[in-house]
């Protein structure tokens, strides 16, 4: 499959001498939702900036839909929609005017029916004649999304779309992003909410200090690293794990007050039932239990920690 975006050897050194991207290689598949994760200052916005024409690359190339974003910028940019991280709108314009303006900027003839559809999908239709300055922050962000979609892009960049957005709107937005993907749009989003990546993405890329440290299918990533743990808080502390339980992957906490059992969440047989019965046979009683799953968050934190 030919990638819809291919980034080769991309390096960005800002005027200050700071290297925000270091020899980045990345391919985005057509029609996928790609989540780019990384801590503050990792280079996510810079990467998007180079692809969309806001930042001059220092070295390397970026192709979007087969067009070099510098040499053949007209063809490349026509295919791309961008929702930047910062909300910036023309305060005195109406929603309707600003979204139509965007469509024109990207070289498309007016199409009132299409713009109406976009505004309805984003629940902005009632606000179409409102001046942007009278809208709430979340509505403004939706206006930014409407502007980015106004020219029917094939590729959509969402730079932290859920910053400052309430839970309900976030779910609406996820819904919308999925609908867009169904219609064939490729979506690249950055986020700090790991649950968002977990929920939405087909593939996940992790960037740290300007370097891509990992790119994986989400499901593969979760399976590879997805472990479950069951922790039992004991009635009476143990000195050591009884020999009879040694065939289970059990760990005793330092104070002897808790036992932790690790198992493969994906496995058919977790062995929890048998283990609990065995504990009972040996008179080990517990007050409470909790289970936890190593989430993308743990993976992310461990990857980012390892690097720095």
């Amino acid at each position: 499959m030919t990638p819809v975006i291919s980034i080769r050897g991309l390096t960005k050194t800002y005027a200050s001498g700071f290297q925000a991207l270091k020899n980045v290689n990345l391919e985005i598949h057509r029609g996928e939702i790609f989540a780019l994760l990384g801590p503050n200052g990792a280079g996510k916005t810079t990467l998007i900036g180079v692809t969309c024409g806001l930042v001059n690359p220092s070295l390397g190339t970026v192709e979007a839909a087969g067009h070099d974003v510098v040499r053949d910028f007209r063809a490349a940019r026509t295919k791309i929609g961008l929702v930047p991280q910062e909300i910036s709108t023309d305060a005195f314009e109406t929603v309707w005017a600003t979204v139509n303006f965007s469509r024109g900027m990207f070289g498309k003839p007016r199409d009132a029916a299409y713009i109406e559809k976009v505004l309805r999908d984003l629940s902005l239709w009632d606000k179409r004649n409102a001046k942007i300055m009278t809208l709430s922050g979340g509505m403004k962000r939706r206006v930014m999304i409407a502007k980015a979609l106004s020219h029917e892009p094939e590729i959509l960049f969402l730079d932290e779309p859920s910053a400052g957005v309430d839970v309900e709107l976030r779910h609406d937005m996820w819904q919308m992003v999925r609908k867009l993907r169904e219609s064939g749009v490729t979506i690249i989003l950055t986020t700090h909410y790991i649950e968002e990546a977990e929920e939405m993405a087909d593939r996940i890329g992790i960037i740290n200090h300007g370097e891509i440290v990992l790119v994986e299918e989400k499901t593969a990533l979760m399976a590879k690293l997805g472990k479950k743990q069951l922790t039992l808080n004991l009635q009476a502390p143990l000195e050591r794990i009884p020999d009879a339980l040694s065939d289970y992957a059990l760990e005793l906490s330092a104070d002897g007050g808790a036992l932790t059992y690790t198992f493969d969440a994906q496995g058919e047989q977790t062995g929890i039932g048998a283990m609990l019965r065995r504990l009972n046979e040996h008179g080990i009683d517990f007050k409470s239990l909790q289970s936890s799953e190593s989430s993308l968050e743990d993976i992310f934190v461990s990857l980012v920690k390892k690097k720095s």
Binding site: G49, V55, R74, R77, T78, D90, M105, P109
Partner: protein, 253 residues
């Protein structure tokens, strides 16, 4: 070329003009009227005719130029400075447009506004003094050429400026003095010989002289030179804007 983008920018800019109608149109008209009351009616009656033209009529081309230059620069610079300031410039930078669309859209709108303003001032002047236009075609040509050129110049200032002070400083400290000293209110030939030579270094002299010639058929410098100088300055501005959009100077990081 992306004509939809040109239309979008042009419409957007003109809408901005009409939203701020008082500021963009009424205030220059008011200030010009004041000039006429003071220089045309009150003082002008005591000053003799220059080159056979009554003083009130003599200052009209210079006054129009005065407003045209400052308004063109301010329109041209604000059009691009505001998006830079508010951050909405991201859209211009990510859109499939180059310096051509930008010039036609932003500078076209700024110049249109200036031309409209020029007419408005001429109409206002008519209330105070009687004047005739000897070469209407050339009058229009100078009006349009000046508006476009100085809107381009303003646009460059808008890109260069990274604060409101810088936005004001060039019009205030350079253009206004050059216009006042460029013969808005007098003929260069009235100056002592040495100052006449120095005055010729002032580009605005050529504009005012050419414009006045289109009204009254008399000029301080040759008309061809006037047009040549203006056209050369315009070309320089276009090339500068092309360079800015090729390199991203002050726009991209």
């Amino acid at each position: 070329m992306n004509t939809h983008a040109i239309r979008a920018i042009y419409r957007f800019e003109m809408a901005r003009t009409f939203r701020t109608l008082t500021q963009s149109i009424a205030s220059p008209v008011l200030s010009t009227s004041l000039y006429f009351v003071v220089f045309g009616a009150a003082i002008g009656s005591r000053i003799g005719a220059i080159d056979g033209v009554s003083y009130g009529a003599f200052i009209i081309p210079g006054l129009v130029m005065l407003s045209l230059l400052s308004e063109s620069i301010s329109n041209g610079s604000f059009g691009i400075y505001m998006p830079k300031f508010t951050g909405t410039i991201y859209e211009l930078l990510s859109a499939p447009v180059s310096y051509r669309e930008v010039i036609f859209g932003y500078v076209g709108a700024a110049a249109s506004k200036s031309v409209m303003l020029g007419f408005l001032i001429l109409l206002t002047a008519r209330v105070f003094v009687h004047y005739e236009i000897a070469h209407p075609f050339w009058m229009l040509a100078f009006l349009a050429l000046t508006s476009v050129t100085f809107s381009l110049f303003g646009f460059i200032i808008g890109i260069w400026a990274d604060g409101f002070e810088k936005l004001q400083i060039v019009p205030l400290m350079i253009v206004t003095p050059l216009t006042f000293l460029g013969g808005s209110f007098y003929s260069i030939s009235m100056l002592p010989p040495l100052w006449q030579k120095i005055a010729l270094l002032n580009p605005v002299v050529y504009l005012i002289s050419g414009f006045r010639w289109s009204f009254y058929g008399v000029s301080d410098v040759s008309v061809t030179l006037s047009i040549g100088m203006t056209a050369a300055f315009m070309l320089a501005c276009v090339l500068a804007i092309r360079w800015v959009f090729k390199t991203g100077y002050r726009l991209k990081t």
